[in-house]
């Protein structure tokens, strides 16, 4: 319990944990700035994605779906990698700081959200371009599996027990689950696939994409990254407050029990 807050660097105020949770919000000056930057980024993306960028020769207007689909897929990867790193920091450091566990949980929640957006936007694009919503193709299948894995990860976090039990179980799972990401990314090379291969993240660096489209994609990545950071910081803080409320409840129950016995 003592070491728990030491590495809890992202929490608003460690001492707020058991004192006045209700009175302190999760926003600080820094997160307000971050939130404003994310909003500007999304507006910028809307302007380029819906306005300035051209329609595609084959896909026509439906190419605009990619400015949501690709950034959300990359951010989901990033979120799950952050979950794995935070889980490793929790598991392999002697302090076993729950702060890292909450960062892992918050990042996974946001990652599941982005992965869901990836799947839905991809299905809409698939119906318009391929003619079908879904195909049990390597990329689609591995992505669906990744999504379901992290829904399972979140369910395991909710199974109960002490905070340390939750952290240990989920950290082990997160370190295993992150190994699926390379499989998802290279699935289009490993198997013959309906899904196209990577355009930007390709080994030979020969990007075959219209310049303005590529720029719009870049805007999408920036906007989604800011949004991700903003969501994770806030979620991590509400998780800290939840844990503190749990601890406070336990302490109250112990005090009541002692009063009863004494």
């Amino acid at each position: 319990m003592i070491g728990e807050h030491v590495a809890d660097t992202l929490a608003t105020e460690p001492s707020a944990a058991s004192d006045d949770v209700a009175s302190s919000g999760t926003a600080t000056r820094a997160t307000r700035l971050l939130g404003a930057a994310a909003l500007v980024g999304v507006a910028w993306l809307a302007a380029f994605g819906l306005g300035f960028s051209p329609a595609d020769r084959d896909q026509r207007e439906s190419v605009r779906i990619l400015y949501v689909h690709v950034p959300s897929a990359w951010l989901a990867y990033l979120a799950f990698v952050v979950t794995a790193v935070a889980s490793g920091l929790y598991l392999f450091r002697r302090s076993h700081a729950l702060g890292w566990d909450r960062v892992a949980g918050a990042s996974a929640e946001v990652g599941v959200l982005f992965m869901g957006i990836t799947l839905v936007s991809g299905m809409l694009w698939g119906r318009l371009t391929w003619g079908v919503f879904w195909e049990w193709d390597a990329r689609l299948t591995t992505t669906a599996f990744l999504f379901v894995t992290y829904v399972g990860y979140l369910a395991v976090r909710g199974l109960g027990g002490s905070h340390q039990q939750r952290a240990r179980r989920s950290a082990v799972l997160a370190l295993l689950a992150v190994l699926e990401i390379p499989l998802v990314h290279w699935s289009v090379r490993l198997w013959r696939s309906l899904h196209q291969e990577a355009t930007v993240l390709r080994p030979d660096g020969d990007v075959k994409m219209d310049g303005l489209m590529l720029f719009t994609l870049f805007v999408g990545i920036v906007a989604f990254t800011l949004m991700y950071a903003w969501l994770v910081v806030h979620r991590q803080r509400t998780l800290a407050a939840e844990d503190a409320a749990d601890d406070a409840g336990l302490d109250r129950a112990l005090a009541a029990r002692r009063a009863e016995v004494g």
């Binding site: 084959d58 371009t129 079908v132 379901v148 369910a155 196209q196 112990l254």
Partner: protein
Amino acid sequence: MDLSPRTLPDTAASPTPSRRRWAPIVLVALVLVAGGVIVTQFLRSAVDYYCNVDEIGRRDGCEEHRRLRVQGTVDAGSVHTDGARTAFTISFHGATLPVRYDGQPGGIFEECQPVVVHGELVNGTFEGDRVEVKHSNEYVAENADRLDSGDVSAESGTCSPPA
């Protein structure tokens, strides 16, 4: 924070665990089922060989009377729609295959687009029941294409740009 040792709980009078959270347990079970379904669907679909047109009859598994997925480019001028049926030919590396499909392909289906057709090869004609339009990993602006599409058709030799 109170760090004094906790007194031992009074086991005789201890209440049943106050809250067993069932929702996450049900969710974990559902996740396992969903994972199993995803894997079996993938394996069932992978059973259908994915062949290029020029591999039909040559590559092991790419033969008649079994379900296949065939990839090729729709030949220019080959698409004929007859009510609910669509007939066209697809080519890949010089080999050509006639396809019949019950329905109208969706997506961006048109001449000179690469497609994947699911179905069965019967007497030299591919009877398709699902047509998917493949999209390459190249993205070209709509109005910058005049020269580009000309180049592509000159390269492949079989597909002139749609009129």
